[in-house]
């Protein structure tokens, strides 16, 4: 079942992209082309095949639970001009309803 433009718009909302109508049209085509490619995977019987999330076996490393310095607040806040110098934080649009 090919994706419809409305479904593409819904995915755009999930991905936090304010897509234009032209982009929705183009992406609908492109995504359906890719889904056609993916269809060939469905023919492969894989019921008994375990998934690979990392190709090389990885051990979990433990480190000593020691406090190490993090980046100084001024350096981090210097990365954007949208800061409140008095409160010492990032300025964002209103999040909580009045």
């Amino acid at each position: 079942m090919p994706l419809t433009p409305d479904e593409v718009r819904k995915v755009g909302t999930l991905a936090r992209l304010a897509l234009s109508d032209d982009e929705v049209d183009r992406l609908t085509h492109q995504l359906n082309d890719l889904l056609d490619q993916f269809a060939r995977l469905q023919q492969l019987p894989t019921e008994s095949v375990p998934p690979t999330s990392h190709a090389v076996p990885i051990q979990a490393f433990l480190r000593e639970d020691r406090i190490t310095p993090s980046l100084p607040r001024e350096e981090v806040l210097a990365l954007t001009s949208h800061v409140d110098d008095y409160l010492g934080g990032f300025v964002v649009p209103q999040v909580i309803e009045e």
Binding site: D33, L41, P51, H54, V56, L79
Partner: protein, 485 residues
């Protein structure tokens, strides 16, 4: 000094160490060549001339004082612009990171500094390393020095061009589906994607976290070994880096391939591989056979499913990794009067290019409720089948040899309107990423248009010494790697 720019990194390092030339003279020669050449090729996003000269002077002082100045003392190096550099802009060639100056260095950058390397600048890539031609850069495309009407490959196109045009003898790239090997092939270089976990990814801006790996590009296997020595190793800042000891890779270059079993997988020599590419790769295999290697046919039957599985796994991981770009803490922020969601949506809509959006979209879809099993889980299972293919092949041979790319470098604009066709140029390189294996591309000829042809070596996990030895042996008996555009 202009002859310096055509030397290998190994030769430059030796000249500096022996005081035949100063690090400052070397750096100035390369900076002058960047100034003269880059306006034509557009490889650099940032040239760090002043810092480079300061580093070179510091190296010269150390050498004058008789101190050990490091394995790469005074050797100029270009970094792909998705490697974080403290105090130096790091854009990933994306408008969304325009103006972002990281407050920290990637682990590989720290190691390069300790080894005395001279960073000459940050180089272009397909936006967030998503692409195969460097045409997806959010700033400008980079041109191939062998033919400026053609692409250099991608996504590490800037890294490959910097080396191939003599603007730096070494460069670092990153490889998620072929992004080091494919541009190395298109530009006539040696490029290595190490085994997943061999090099720390800390400070590499993440694309597909289970696939990404940083690696070197240079003229020769010897230069690649020299740089791998510096960047390989475990890092507490990257939990996927492995604690294996780091050998001296240059010591592995014995020039010997007698008794080596070369596997030639039939699935990589199918229709769609240009006849000239096939002929040069087969001829290179013949050279190695002449030096005492045995050649066996092997089969990797699941190869044909690798591309489709990759285009689920990589975008799925990318859609998660790129969720962090919201305009709040760094980089570009769109003007928005609305609520926070409107700010995020507008910033991301304006900040990301078309290819990046397409991959975020397919990844978001593949991970969304109700589709996870059909896409992501299925792709991970196919990944297991691809891995098992390789495991079986390596019971029959030591190393696999294939073309790196189906064709030589294509024309700028040739594939930009056909995303599927563009993606096919990675068909030979993607399986090594899916299986986490090391892959190396080296030049094995030039087609009738004068464009370099790349041959790929793949080996078992952590067989970098073997791949470098085979490549170096080939280079000792051929001279393709000595040609310059």
């Amino acid at each position: 000094m202009s002859e310096l720019i055509h030397l290998t990194a190994t030769a430059i390092a030796a000249k500096i160490k022996n005081k035949e030339v100063s690090a400052r003279e070397v750096t100035d020669a390369f900076l002058a060549h960047i100034e003269a050449t880059d306006p034509v090729l557009s490889a650099f996003l940032t040239v760090t001339a002043e810092q480079a000269q300061q580093t070179a002077d510091a190296v010269d002082r150390k050498i004058a004082d008789g101190e050990d100045a490091g394995a790469l003392a005074g050797v100029p190096l270009a970094l792909k612009d998705n490697l974080s550099t403290r105090g130096i802009a790091t854009t990933c060639a994306s408008q969304i990171l325009k103006g972002y100056i990281p407050p920290f260095d990637a682990t590989v950058v720290t190691k390069l500094k300790e080894a005395g390397a001279v960073l000459v600048g940050k180089v272009n890539l397909d936006e967030f390393a998503m692409g195969s031609s460097t045409e997806n850069s959010g700033f400008f495309p980079t041109k191939n020095p062998w033919d400026t009407t053609r692409v250099p490959g991608g996504s590490s196109g800037g890294s490959a061009v910097a080396v191939a045009s003599g603007m730096a003898p070494l460069a670092l790239g990153s490889d998620t589906g072929g992004s080091i090997r494919q541009p190395a092939a298109f530009c006539g270089l040696t490029g290595l994607k190490p085994t997943y976990g061999r090099v720390s990814r800390y400070g590499l801006v993440a694309f597909g976290s289970s696939l990404d790996q940083i690696g070197p590009l240079g003229w020769t296997a010897e230069d690649v070994a020299l740089l791998l020595n510096v960047i390989a190793g475990h890092d507490p800042m990257d939990s996927t880096s492995v604690p294996h000891a780091v050998p001296d890779y240059t010591q592995a270059l014995t020039g010997e391939v007698k008794g080596l079993k070369i596997g030639v997988p039939q699935e990589y020599f199918i229709e769609g591989i240009a006849p000239e590419v096939r002929a040069f790769v087969m001829s290179a295999i013949g050279v190695l056979r002449g030096l005492g290697a045995d050649v066996v046919e092997v089969s990797l039957p699941y190869t044909e499913y690798a591309l489709a599985a990759y285009y689920i796994v990589a975008p799925a991981e990318a859609s998660s990794n790129l969720a962090r770009y919201d305009g709040v803490r760094y980089g570009f922020r769109a003007q928005s009067d609305g609520k926070h969601d409107a700010l995020f949506e507008k910033t991301r809509e304006m900040g990301f290019g078309a290819e990046v959006k397409q991959r975020i979209m397919i990844g978001t879809y593949a991970l969304s409720a109700g589709y996870y099993d059909a896409f992501y889980l299925k792709a991970q299972k196919v990944r297991t089948l691809i891995r098992q293919d390789f495991d079986k092949a390596f019971t029959e041979c030591d190393v696999l040899i294939t073309p790196t790319t189906p064709t030589t470098a294509f024309r700028l604009g040739e594939k930009t309107n056909d995303p599927l066709e563009m993606k096919l140029s990675d068909i030979c390189t993607i399986p090594a990423n899916m299986a986490g294996l090391p892959g190396l591309s080296l030049c094995c000829g030039f087609d009738t248009r004068g464009l370099p042809v790349g041959m790929q070596l793949m080996g078992p996990a952590f067989s970098e010494e073997l791949l470098l030895r085979v490549a170096d042996t080939y280079q000792r008996h051929t001279d393709w790697h000595t040609r310059r555009p």
